[in-house]
């Protein structure tokens, strides 16, 4: 279905304890809305990422429900608290059942 899905995440390498950091995520995905028609006038079926989550050491930072109105290559920017060193886990859930994940480590001083 969705080919060449590549998640990209930007997280600062280190931070002070309790600091709020900015995280930017982008995943390449066509986000076919289900509204478009192909050359023969047939509806192209919907194929989107319907959920995105970000967790830090197992605790939820943000959990987003996506609808077809999110643009191609869904981009999110949000902030997270980092109480200690650990790992961010980013998960994208595709309509076709695929799950894409990415992880980033952060050192807290």
């Amino acid at each position: 279905m969705a080919d060449n899905v590549t998640p990209r995440v930007r997280v600062p390498r280190d931070a002070a304890a309790g600091e709020s950091i900015v995280i930017k995520t982008l995943i390449s995905h066509p986000m076919e809305s289900g509204q478009r028609k192909d050359g023969d006038g047939n509806l192209i079926p919907r194929s989107i990422i319907n959920r995105f989550t970000c967790e830090f050491n197992g605790q939820s930072v943000v959990d987003v429900t996506l609808e077809p109105a999110i643009s191609t290559n869904p981009y999110f920017e949000f902030q997270s608290l980092v109480p200690e060193s650990g790992t961010f886990t980013f998960t994208w859930y595709d309509d076709d059942g695929s799950v894409y994940t990415d992880t980033k480590d952060i050192a807290v001083s």
Binding site: R36, V61, T65, I70, S71, P74, F78
Partner: protein, 138 residues
């Protein structure tokens, strides 16, 4: 028929009420808002929605919402074929209850954000975005 002052005022009110109808009578949007709020009253303080006034390309319109103290924010594009855009649920580690993303808009319309606050109240903000090229058809 001779128009009295009272008649003309009534007429003007009727005309403006008729003009309002296309904006308020969007049943799908009302349903979505009611499903999210459970029918509770929606205030307008404590939420900021930043969207461009004019979007040349309706395929990627950058929007940003910020609602300190919110547990969830729902984004709606009232003029899209399906008005839902996204729902952000903030966890305990969210650094601030704000997020930005890029959305599709099919035509010039109002973008609405509704925040569910930690105390159970709701706040709403809207912004009109003029779209030059729509982003939903094919």
């Amino acid at each position: 028929m001779k128009l009295t002052r009272r008649d003309s005022i009534l007429l003007a009110m009727g005309a403006s009420a008729a003009a309002m109808v296309p904006f308020t009578a969007n049943a799908a949007v009302e349903d979505l808002i009611n499903a999210f709020t459970g029918g509770a009253a929606v205030g307008d303080a404590g939420i900021t929605l930043i969207a461009p006034e004019i979007a040349e390309n309706g395929n990627t319109v950058p929007v940003e919402v910020d609602a300190p103290g919110a547990v969830a924010i729902m984004l709606l594009a009232t003029g899209n074929p399906t008005p839902s855009v996204a729902t952000f649920n903030f966890g305990p580690l969210a650094g601030s209850q704000s997020a930005s993303t890029r959305i599709r808009l099919s035509k010039t319309q109002n973008v609405t954000a509704i925040a569910k606050m930690a105390d159970g109240s709701f706040a709403q903000a809207s912004s009109e975005v003029k779209v030059t090229i729509g982003g939903c058809g094919g």
